[in-house]
């Protein structure tokens, strides 16, 4: 991303506090047209609050939100939700029970006449493979279908930005992948800036063009999924994207020494540090650091292996045959999957 156009939705140092808790603490984030941004964080970290602020359902206490060059939220002035062109899809979909599917989708299309509204609704339903349910009542639809109706309804007004709150959390396994595919292609076709809130790291990385990591009301890191995964700025950021082993290390002369092997660290200052090892960043090998395999568990596509050295235990993922047995072994560190964190 060398020369990126200005964000369509620009969140600048936004703060929101409730009595006794700061839900958002100076969060800055930009959303770009045609790109999908995933906001990842544990529940209660302020993700949903951010959505409500963007939609105009709540005021900001400090900072500002700008949409297409216009300030839409500043302390003391909040452009009401119906005027800002931002769509929001709720976790429980919030379909209107008294309207059919097509009427739900057409709800926001006041400016069109009857025929045009219906046509636009059907066109959107078609995009989400739901045209055959146009005249059904919402409660007769499956969860996945209801969600697509909610998304179609939000897209009907061609919002500049669309936000989805935990869109895939209610769906299970097989269905999830399929629904995700239909939904994502529909979303991409809309060319709006998309913000998806989720607490599932795998989902976030699969879906996102840009990833934003949040914890306890703060934005920890933003960037491409790969960059965030491999170069977490902090322990908390690393943990958000998946399991990570933490190993005490000693940095001397541009090299970090740990019980599981060494890692080049040309820029790190000397002294103690923490080595972050992804489970796939440590490999059982014929040579390397001597360890003791203490536990082996079958995990489907991989084996989960616990190894111990100098009193420190880490868990790694072993893929392929030659499953190690408990007892002495050797490991090597994959330098692309390991990072040195300060402290």
């Amino acid at each position: 991303m060398t020369v990126s156009p200005p964000p369509i939705l620009d969140i600048r140092a936004v703060t929101r506090a409730y009595p006794g808790i700061v839900a958002l603490d100076a969060v800055s984030l930009g959303l770009h047209a045609g790109r999908i941004t995933c906001l990842l964080g544990p529940s209660g970290c302020g993700k949903s609050t951010l959505l409500r602020l963007l939609a105009g359902l709540e005021p900001v206490d400090a900072g500002e939100i700008e949409a297409a060059g216009q300030l839409i939220s500043v302390p003391g002035r909040t452009v009401p939700p119906e005027v800002r062109n931002i769509g929001l899809v709720f976790q429980d979909f919030a379909l209107f029970p008294h309207l059919t599917v097509a009427q739900n989708v057409a709800f926001g299309l006041d400016k069109l006449d009857r025929k045009a509204r219906r046509a636009r609704a059907l066109e959107l339903l078609e995009r989400f493979k739901l045209a055959h349910r146009a005249d059904a009542w919402p409660h007769t639809l499956s969860g996945g279908e209801q969600q697509r109706v909610a998304i179609a309804r939000a897209l009907a007004r061609e919002p500049a930005a669309l936000m989805l709150d935990e869109p895939f959390s209610g769906l299970d396994g097989d269905l999830k992948a399929e629904v995700r595919h239909v939904v994502l292609s529909g979303l991409r076709a809309a060319k709006a800036a998309i913000l998806i809130v989720t607490h599932d790291p795998e989902e976030a990385m699969l879906v996102a063009d840009d990833l934003a990591l949040m914890s306890a009301g703060r934005l920890l890191q933003a960037g491409s999924p790969e960059h965030c995964y491999l170069n977490p700025v902090s322990l908390a950021a690393a943990r958000l994207l998946g399991p990570a082993n933490l190993v005490p290390a000693e940095v001397r002369e541009g090299m970090a020494h740990s019980p599981f092997g060494d890692l080049p660290a040309p820029e790190a200052p000397g002294g103690t540090a923490t080595l972050m090892l992804r489970p796939e960043g440590l490999r059982i090998a014929g040579e390397g650091a001597p360890v003791a395999v203490t536990e082996v568990h079958f995990g489907g596509a991989f084996h989960e292996v616990t190894v111990e050295a100098e009193g420190v235990a880490v868990t790694l993922r072993h893929i392929g045959p030659d499953v190690p047995a408990p007892g002495p072994a050797h490991v090597v560190i994959d330098p692309t999957r390991a990072r040195l964190l300060a402290g």
Binding site: R52, A55, G56, L57, P80, P81, E82, V83, I86, G87, L88, F90, D92, A94, L95, F96, P97, H98, F107, G108, D110, H139, A150, R153, A154, A156, R157
Partner: protein, 504 residues
């Protein structure tokens, strides 16, 4: 809005001349009211709970009809029942003369006593307990009962040890309603010559012409109303007793063996018989001999229906506005419910003082318009809470997120209310309107006090005939009220009977 008449009562009670009737009499009347309320509370609690338990958990002939028909006595005003029973079981009535002469035996009770009044009012008000308990039994989690059974309870002890305690809040709420109605009743106790606080209020005002004395009778009623309201609210807080998350399964309905089934049918039929069929039948039978004064009756029926519809529209409109704004004004809803617990007579007395003030302020307006306006105001103030409850329940189907969704789809708050909240709650609005309509038709004391001169409703005519001891004549307007209210009650109860949470 509901607070104005309440303040009016307080103001009137502590100002102005009191008539001779007050003082010691208040205590005597209060004791009667309390005793009557206790009796009616106990009887309705027993009858209503048993009926609800039978209908919800057992299968016996006629069960599906009884499920909704047991609530039908709500269509009959209590005074109509009092006229019928007062006449039918009168010591000097044909039935008892015949019994004494031909059977050599007399019924061991007198209608014109507190126990007679308790019988009549229990027949009229048991449906409140029945409906509350029925809802509670239906809402209870099947698993709680099943758990009780697996823990060694028999069917009966599961009822006593699990179902009843779980339904206790509903029982409190239902009985509180029945007692509120008992305290508010004027027509029935007046006819049966039982002197309660409400008759005291009306007498002090109509016979002695003292608003201040009337207000003094009203004060203990207001206190009782507040207490009952608190009980009812506390009962409502027990919503936690209903397990919201458990999956709904059909309740296990137990078929009864023939003998017990016959008893169950007989019990339910007995309630319906004494609550509606017998009194209405008797009123009809004894009215057949007299030619009704049709012009007067039709005139009054028009007034009743007009007031009912106007009251319903005004009350539902205000209640909807209140419900939509309730999040911002929690106190308003609380005050509105105090209005419901306040007897109509008290409400009317409370309105008299502010009314006189308005009158002086706007000398040009006709007394008729002011009278009708006040009357509708009194209905609205009294029935606001009754309308508020279904409307609140209806609006609660609109989740906050639905409203927000509408906002992000370009609708302002007003458009959201109009296009999302009200359409979703329209069934509830109709329910609320019908509840108000039925209650206005049956309302007597407030109408008596506030109506414009020569403006009669069916209830007023019935009461006037009854006071003149022209009971057969009183039968016609009473039956007309039942006839007008019955379709609305049937519609309501069938709707209630069919709904079970979790069923689509």
């Amino acid at each position: 809005m509901a607070a104005l008449p309440l303040a009016g009562v307080l103001w009137a009670a502590f100002s102005g001349e009191t008539a001779d009737i007050a003082g010691r009499d208040v205590l005597r009347y209060a004791a009667t009211s309390a005793w009557l309320a206790l009796l009616v509370g106990a009887i309705t609690a027993l009858l209503g709970s048993i009926a609800a338990w039978l209908v919800v958990m057992h299968r016996f002939p006629g069960r599906d009809v009884f499920a909704w028909a047991l609530a039908l006595p709500l269509a009959a005003p209590a005074f109509a029942l009092a006229y019928a029973y007062g006449d039918l079981f009168d010591v000097a009535g044909e039935l008892r003369i015949w019994m004494r002469a031909d059977l050599g035996f007399d019924m061991p009770f007198e209608m014109r006593t507190i126990s007679g009044a308790a019988f009549v009012l229990s027949c009229a008000f048991y449906p409140y307990v029945y409906l509350a308990m029925r809802a509670a039994f239906l809402n209870q989690s099947v698993t709680a009962l099943e758990a009780a059974r697996t823990l060694g309870c028999t069917q009966r002890s599961a009822f006593l040890r699990a179902a009843m305690p779980l339904a206790r809040p509903a029982l409190a709420a239902g009985v509180a309603l029945a007692v509120m109605e008992t305290l508010a009743d004027y027509g029935a106790v007046q006819f049966l010559a039982v002197q309660t606080l409400t008759t005291g209020v009306v007498r002090a005002w109509s016979v002695y012409g003292s608003t201040a004395s009337a207000a003094q009778f009203a004060l203990p009623l207001l206190g009782a109303a507040a207490l009952l309201l608190w009980i009812e609210r506390a009962g409502r807080k027990g919503r936690g007793y209903e397990s919201a998350n458990s999956k709904w399964r059909p309740l296990p309905v137990r078929p009864l063996p023939p003998a017990k089934a016959a008893l169950a049918s007989l019990f339910c039929f007995g309630l319906l018989f004494f609550g509606l069929l017998l009194p209405c039948g008797w009123l009809l039978w004894s009215s057949l001999d007299v030619t009704p004064q049709w012009p007067r009756l039709i005139d009054a029926a028009t007034h009743s229906v007009t007031l009912g519809v106007a009251g319903a529209v005004v009350t539902v409109t205000l209640a909807t506005a209140l419900a939509l704004g309730a999040a911002r004004l929690p106190l308003a809803a609380r005050v509105a419910s105090l209005g419901y617990a306040t007897p109509g007579a008290v409400m009317a007395i409370g309105l008299l003082a502010p009314a006189a003030f308005i009158w002086r302020l706007t000398p040009g307006t006709s007394g008729f318009a002011v009278g009708v306006g006040l009357l509708i105001y009194a209905y609205a103030a009294r029935l606001m809470a009754a309308a508020l409850e279904p409307i609140d329940a209806g609006l609660s189907k609109v989740t906050a997120r639905m409203a927000w969704a509408s906002r992000t789809l370009g609708k302002g708050p007003a458009a959201t209310a109009w296009k999302v909240q009200l359409p979703v709650a329209r069934g509830a609005l109709l329910t609320a309107g019908l509840v108000v309509f039925i209650d206005v038709l049956k309302e007597l004391p407030a109408t008596l006090i506030l109506r414009p001169f020569n403006f009669d409703t069916l209830a007023v005519i019935a009461s006037n005939y009854a006071l003149d001891e022209r009971l057969p004549q009183a039968g016609w307007p009473s039956l007309m009220i039942v006839g007008l209210a019955l379709p609305a009650v049937i519609w309501l109860t069938r709707k209630i009977a069919m709904s079970r949470p979790g069923a689509a």
